[in-house]
Symmetry: none
Amino acid sequence: MSTPAPQIRILVVEDDPHLAAGVTENLRAEGYEVISMGDGKPALEWLRDQPCSLIVLDVMLPEMDGFTLCRTLREQGNSTPVLFLTARGDPADRVRGLEAGGDDYLAKPFHLQEFLLRVRAILRRWDWYRSSSDTPSGAVLQFAGNEVDFRAFRARAWNGVVQELTEKEAMILKVLAERPGEIVSREDLLERVWGYDVFPSTRTVDNFILRLRKRFERDPANPRHFLTVWGVGYRFLVEGES
Amino acid sequence: MSTPAPQIRILVVEDDPHLAAGVTENLRAEGYEVISMGDGKPALEWLRDQPCSLIVLDVMLPEMDGFTLCRTLREQGNSTPVLFLTARGDPADRVRGLEAGGDDYLAKPFHLQEFLLRVRAILRRWDWYRSSSDTPSGAVLQFAGNEVDFRAFRARAWNGVVQELTEKEAMILKVLAERPGEIVSREDLLERVWGYDVFPSTRTVDNFILRLRKRFERDPANPRHFLTVWGVGYRFLVEGES
DNA sequence: ATCCGGCGTGACCCTTCGGTGACATTCGGG
DNA sequence: CCCGAATGTCACCGAAGGGTCACGCCGGAT
């Protein structure tokens, strides 16, 4: 993980004690801090003033079910990523989960390995978000007169024009800016921004680079900050020299 | 090049000798300890009592294929990170690899540079490898006023001109500079830089030497750093005397 | 139902890289 | 000193990659 220092905290809401124990154990073994609860109510309570990086949420719970809990959270403006667990593999359930504002969905019984894989994928995808919202310095990027606020997806370009960034634009920029000067391959970008099981073509990445250049480069045709690394990917520079 | 204090050990399981050689060489040059094997069976055997930090695993192997090996490892509770290599770039294969418990996936033919990027990414993700590796002393080469940053394929020549190196130029320079003063044959260079499945003529090497001389020698016609060893290959000198 | 913005893709064109051949030059041995 | 072989040097070409645009899809808002 990129940020080992601040422990990554995961909330598990699961009423089956056996499953809860197994999941908790394995997550702890991976180095995460895990809080476990048996129903939606206390979870909602706890989440009111406790932040965490991920919620693993059973759909079927004694009182407040998972969908309701998730929807409630979203209505409250809480955008913590949610991974749903469900007894049956009904595809309709997956849709319902995503509609309720979930991020991923896993049918029981599942292989622990696949579960851990999905957890890692979600956290990786949201990595950028945590690093911006937690540390004030990471929330704003400045380069060559441009100023980007990742929390609001808003930027003011060098010429003073205020721009609304789309989600993907912001995420790509964030991933690039995390490693200024280093080469980031298209595949890296795809994985970090889109996730491990989605496969847009690499040309899609090019298009977003194009958009970023149009937004932030003084001369988009001769980029000084969003540089192409031929045959590999792209590289972001804060300082642009000839 | 970069020599992290605790030696990082990587197991390569690959049946194609050419590919195995290229991969192994390049990993060694990065400072890793590399063990190479041709099939899954011995690998599984070896892993029973030998730890390592990363397994580079070909999907197609003579007897035990990569997926099976990986799945077996996971069932045994071995969570060593796995990077899959495969012949075809089928996206579905990627998911299969990840669900078998792999951590990343690379389709052949790949650029060696991309491969190394991924290895670093995985090791960094697992934190068995600190971000100190982002600026190892080995990533920068200095000689006769020239300064080369291998991470970024970028150099500033003695006269102050900033140059973007191509992938091949950078890799040839790197291979030469790894053994200053030693003779490197054209065949060595071909093996290290092109690695596998491509075999250009040795004259191609000469051309790249020519380019390097133009970039870094004060008098390209009288080279002091990129010396010809007649009938064999080339030799790189940091200190250039007549 | 309609509109709209985000996003993914295909198509077209241009650039870059890498590899080769041709010719000049140099080296080394006889 | 001469000649063949290896290397220096350059120009060129094909292939692959990237820049750019326009279109189509889809989900959310009107």
